[in-house]
């Protein structure tokens, strides 16, 4: 319990410091001004989300192999935290785009792919609500999770190829743009903070899932008597 509280405090502390750094330590960007600072939050959350989905994928594979419910709990937990991260990315992207380009959405390759990624994991969570029996639900969602994760790089690749056929503004400066060294440090610190926050959320959500399972177990034993 103490460890969880410590983790929570650490996460909040790191995020607070990272936010401070994004606003006061990082230099102002030349062309875009203050709104560019949202990049630290936007991109680092995206990275945290992608890491979380990778952990979900590994949990899915482990469940299919070992069939331990703990892997299922980890899978659904990571999917939920991942969806939360990507929701933030999809909101901060347009917030950045509007002042800079004057429009909310530009069918930028990465943002469009991220949108599909978000929908895929929403589908994962939706599938889970439509299967009643616990083991069946765990297996089916694990299998869908594997399909979904393997599709992700293909989606990103296909949409990027598609956008090269129809050039359009690229949010957040595209692939090749470099970062000032201080900006880079602030960015990486944000990445760390977001990952720690994600880990904290995963741990808490995991214990929620575990408690739900323990309660069901107790209920079943009570009914058996």
């Amino acid at each position: 319990m103490l460890r969880r509280i410590t983790l929570g405090a650490l996460a909040i502390g790191l995020v607070a410091c990272a936010t401070y750094a994004s606003f006061y330590i990082a230099p102002e960007e030349r062309t875009m001004g203050a709104i560019q600072r949202i990049f630290y939050f936007h991109a680092s959350t995206a990275w945290a989300g992608e890491t979380t989905f990778f952990v979900c994928f590994v949990a899915n594979l482990l469940y299919i192999w070992k069939r331990k419910p703990q892997y299922d709990w980890l899978g659904v937990t990571c999917a939920e935290v991942g969806v939360a991260c990507i929701t933030v990315v999809l909101i901060t992207g347009p917030i950045w785009a509007k002042p800079v380009w004057g429009i909310w959405w530009t069918w930028d390759a990465r943002l469009t792919s991220t949108f599909v990624l978000w929908i895929l994991y929403i589908c994962y969570l939706l599938l889970r609500t439509l299967v009643d029996e616990a083991e069946r639900r765990a297996l089916l969602s694990a299998l869908f999770g594997v399909f979904a994760f393997i599709d992700v790089p293909i989606v990103f690749g296909a949409i990027r190829w598609w956008r090269t056929q129809h050039p359009a503004p690229v949010i957040m400066g595209g692939e090749g743009s470099g970062l000032d060294p201080i900006m880079k440090k602030v960015f990486l610190f944000n990445v760390l903070a977001m990952h720690v926050l994600a880990v904290f959320l995963i741990v808490e959500r995991y214990f929620l899932e575990k408690t739900k399972h323990d309660v069901e177990l107790l209920q079943r034993e009570a009914e058996a008597r």
Binding site: R67, D132, A134, E135, E216, Q219, R220
Partner: protein
């Protein structure tokens, strides 16, 4: 004709457990069926009979424990004949088409001849070109049994085979299972109550809440097992 005695196999369950959510369909089930035995399984609805048979056929994966087959060629997967509530044949195909299809899948030798022979055995040769959709329940059961026997199974599993059959079909079924038993095939069948079919068994088992609570080879005890009056 089912497998001759030397090809029939035994079945072994070791501490098998299967849960569906909160419910234990099979709990700590340990059971050994020798080759050539004819075992009748009694039990109320929900006692685990269907799950036991489906786990034995490897259609359902057990949560815990092992299921193994004893005897027979060790390198081959044993051929299992399964007759359940559902007919497991296609309504849109004729009886002959269904059997030929399953025969091809199981690499049966001389499929046409074997199918013709089986149709004769189950008394459906004059209806072989009719769609299964047009069959009565009794006739569908016959097709199902023919399907189960196609590849000369080493183990035959019946799940309440008499359900929905009229007296005539029921008598035919009992006779047929008797013939199979006499030829030495290993048979495990779940039955709802004591019936003609139950009397064919050499052993009776009662399941309750997924575990074996009674097991006897004494014919005199069978009635008690089926009535549920066991200690």
């Amino acid at each position: 004709m089912p497998a001759p005695p030397e090809r029939s196999i035994g079945l072994q369950f070791d501490q098998v457990e299967k849960r569906y959510g909160a419910v234990y369909a099979l709990r700590n089930l340990t059971l050994k069926v020798a080759a050539g035995e004819c075992v009748a399984i009694a039990g109320r609805n929900g006692s685990g009979k269907t799950t036991l048979l489906r786990v034995a056929a490897k259609l359902v994966r057990a949560g815990r424990g092992t299921i193994s087959y004893t005897g027979g060629a060790s390198n081959c997967r044993p051929t299992i004949g399964f007759v359940a509530h559902a007919t497991m044949v296609y309504d849109e195909l004729t009886a002959e088409e269904n059997l030929l299809f399953f025969a091809k899948l199981q690499n049966v030798e001389n499929p046409t001849k074997r199918v013709a022979g089986l149709l004769g055995e189950v008394g459906l040769e004059d209806r072989k070109d009719s769609l299964v959709r047009t069959f009565s329940r009794g006739m569908r059961q016959r097709v199902a049994i023919a399907r189960a026997l196609l590849a000369q199974p080493s183990l035959l599993l019946f799940d309440e085979p008499g359900t929905g059959l009229d007296a005539e079909s029921g008598a035919w079924l009992t006779g047929h299972i008797g013939k199979l038993r006499d030829s030495g095939c290993t048979i495990v069948m779940s039955l709802h109550g004591e019936s003609e079919t139950a009397r064919l068994a050499t052993r009776a088992i009662r399941l309750e809440a997924g575990s074996v609570i009674a097991d006897t080879r004494h014919g005199a005890m069978f009635q008690a097992i089926f009535a549920g009056a066991v200690n």
